[in-house]
Symmetry: C2
Subunit: 452 residues, 2 copies
């Protein structure tokens, strides 16, 4: 029998997350207070986050221990499987080998529980009663809702309006876990009311939903805020993906030539990439590491590397990152998790250092890839993950054209079971590609805060 699944036993769940900050040749730019323009300190973040997560946010330790209770929850689905996509290889008739790390095996169906569980855990031990958050497609919201159910914390989710309308089942899942879900922008917050006054018909965006969730946490001492991507501690928690994959690729006896992941805020990309970049910095890997963005929201490929806000209402600190401008509201593509104006500062930084590259995929190509993948491999990917699939297929076909072997590795960040409305629309010919929204982005970039 050909090996198609490379599994590790429960005791090979990593003992520590990997913090690439310890190994970077150049430090990241500091996060700035939007009023003083001075680097922020832990006390500035204390209203929003528990201290253990703030310490992780600024840590320069290479390894940060994963608490026992977090590993215990991880043990339900981790180590997540690494698959060789042999049927897809045959369908493509390619000399390339295609491996994918599958994060859809978590109960919530994506990589997001990797950070939702430790975030809920640290909040629990520091006494948080309630967490507020935003969600796009709902992968993050449902993961946090699940983690909150496990640890006995209330959960309040602001869900981007276009996804709230497109994905009723994802909302139903959050409610099954006991969370309260509101369409964003909402009339519950000042940020939401301000947006609605100006753009009553808006699709909403992650930037707006973040504003609402942050506002709620800032105003209520019993509520803290949880973010599903972008921040260092979130990316840190996701490194379990890459740490496991390195061991599993060794089991498979292969080394990747190219590593791919879709990138919205950057967390699943970082999860796979950072441990490999650590190897790259030590000369142990020559792999090209590629972030795959939607053409409609290409922060790494078309954005500026500049200080900007993480949210639309400008309640967050300023972070140096690739950004399309925090007032840019991306088109309503079905990959809701990729509809973010910025990119994680850590991902932006390694991009600036030349350690990674970026490419884009159009919406129709992403769905075509998803259908091809489903027919070959059985798993129907989330619309976000389809971007990585499309890029992997592109690489495999290029290898075929060149008649060269190539080992392709990507992370399939989640399944599309709650996103079938988008497949229905795609199969009915109702989806479209989006031109690069040049004018809106130029306007948003013109409004960037003038901080150098």
């Amino acid at each position: 029998m050909e090996s198609i699944q490379y599994n590790l036993p429960q005791n090979r769940i990593p003992l520590a997350w990997y913090n690439i900050v310890a190994d970077l040749p150049k430090p990241m730019a500091p996060v700035l207070h939007p009023g003083t323009l001075q680097p922020i300190g832990p006390e500035d973040l204390a209203p929003l986050f528990p201290m253990s997560l703030i310490q992780q946010e600024v840590s320069r330790e290479r390894e940060i221990e994963i608490p026992g209770p977090v590993r215990q929850v991880y043990a339900q689905w981790r180590p997540a499987p690494l698959f060789r996509a042999r049927r897809l290889e045959k369908a493509l008739d390619t000399p390339a080998k295609i491996y994918y790390k599958y994060e859809g095996v978590s109960p919530a169906g994506s990589h997001k529980p990797n950070t939702a569980v430790p975030q809920a855990y640290y909040n629990k031990i520091e006494g948080t009663k309630r967490l507020s958050t935003e969600t796009g497609a709902g992968q993050w919201g449902s993961s946090l809702a699940m983690a909150c159910a496990f640890f006995g914390i209330e959960c309040k989710v602001y869900m981007v309006r276009v996804s709230y309308d497109q994905k009723p089942y994802r909302r139903a899942l959050m409610e099954a876990y006991g969370a309260s879900v509101t369409s964003s922008p909402s009339i519950e917050t000042e940020s939401g009311r301000a947006i609605l006054a100006e753009h009553p018909d808006t699709n909403g965006s992650l930037g707006i939903a973040i504003s609402e969730a942050v506002e709620v946490a800032a105003k209520d001492p019993n509520t803290k805020y949880a973010l599903g991507s972008v921040l260092n501690h979130v990316l840190l928690h996701q490194t379990v993906i890459g740490l496991e994959t390195i061991e599993q690729m060794a089991l498979a006896g292969d080394e990747p030539d190219v590593i791919l992941a879709c990138a919205g805020g950057g967390s699943n990309f970082a999860g796979l990439a950072m441990p490999y970049l650590g190897r790259k910095l030590k000369g142990q890997s020559q792999a090209r590491v590629v972030a795959v963005e939607p053409s409609a929201c290409p922060s790494l490929t078309k954005g500026h590397f500049a200080y900007d806000f993480g949210d639309t209402a400008h309640l967050t600190p300023l972070m140096r990152m690739h950004t399309l401008g925090s007032t840019f509201i991306p088109p309503g593509i079905h990959a809701g998790g990729l509809r973010y104006h910025g990119m994680a500062p850590l991902v932006s930084h390694v991009m600036d250092l030349g350690l990674v590259e970026a490419t884009t995929v159009q919406q129709l190509d992403a769905f075509a890839a998803g259908i091809q993948f489903a027919r070959a491999e059985g798993i129907i990917p989330a619309p976000e993950a389809n971007h990585a699939v499309a890029a992997a297929i592109r690489e495999a076909l290029q290898a075929k054209e060149e008649g060269k072997e190539r080992t392709i590795l990507f992370v399939l960040s989640g399944h599309g079971h709650f996103d079938m409305q988008s497949y229905i629309a795609y199969q009915a010919g109702k989806l479209e590609n989006y031109e690069y929204p040049a004018e809106e982005i130029a306007m948003a970039l013109a409004g960037l805060p003038s901080v150098s």
Copy 2:
């Protein structure tokens, strides 16, 4: 770290299915031709099934080898994990241990690919170009659609109308795999047109959809028929569930006191139960083995053990089984996979032999159990599987009341990702319990064929 997942490596996928027929103390009643009332022979089934499956249907061999290409496909998700539900145990504050074998890890999300894959495989090697089938909730239809995509066979699915309307995402999944899906009863078949003439507003039923799919296969020499439950060869393929579980329970160092599975046609129940009954017949297990039925469609608990048709239009042979009458159309409960008037003859037979028991669960109790399970274990079960969850919780609470330890094992046959509409309805208070439909069943039973 506490063990919560008991995994076997890929090479522990069973080499052979287990055929309990070889070990039964009394043979099953023969299947009869509805015209002659004589036992049917292989040639009677040849228009519908490939010969290798017909041979399995009547085989008395204890072990039937699983073909290499089938094990190769199984290897993507098998051996399926066995979990200890430690968080649920804590939530229930019970001295009982609760284990569940999770079949939702298959790409189609249920146990159904265990038989869809070999059925597609045998059809492929015998030259079948197209398969027709029925589906209720869609777990079977999507599994066969997937297996057909893997082996390059066309797939035509008649989907019970109430599920077709309740579960658009399940249909979208089948279409993503490339299958053609029609609401049943349809105007495409004589059987469908006859039902529509008499009951234009019918919910449809598995019995009706089977009639349509069988009719299509019987009339077209290029089309064969595939059934997702009931028949011996289908139950046989599902025994991988129990064979793996026996090894995994040994890994866990435990032996079940009670074994539970939901039962509609009987295939996931048989999959877990038959290998344990084989042990029971050898005196190696004392476990109570319990089939869990919906109160609205209780064939084992309230049906007659008699010869009846497998479908509503009476196109199939006569099988001796627990039946509510083949003209009975069950209420539109959301557990569409359990809306079948009969029970697999093999399951009916072991029930008649006193080897298993049966119990019922009401719709609202099933969903309440599903929500409780999701908040504790993260996985949101399919409405069918909720019946097993509810029975497991009942056993665990009884153990608590009695202050006794008890080891409970059940199969979680699939996840509910495509069934969220039913959770939305449940959470909105729009679902109801169904009284036992005594009058309709009495009428249907009065019409049973008079064969003894």
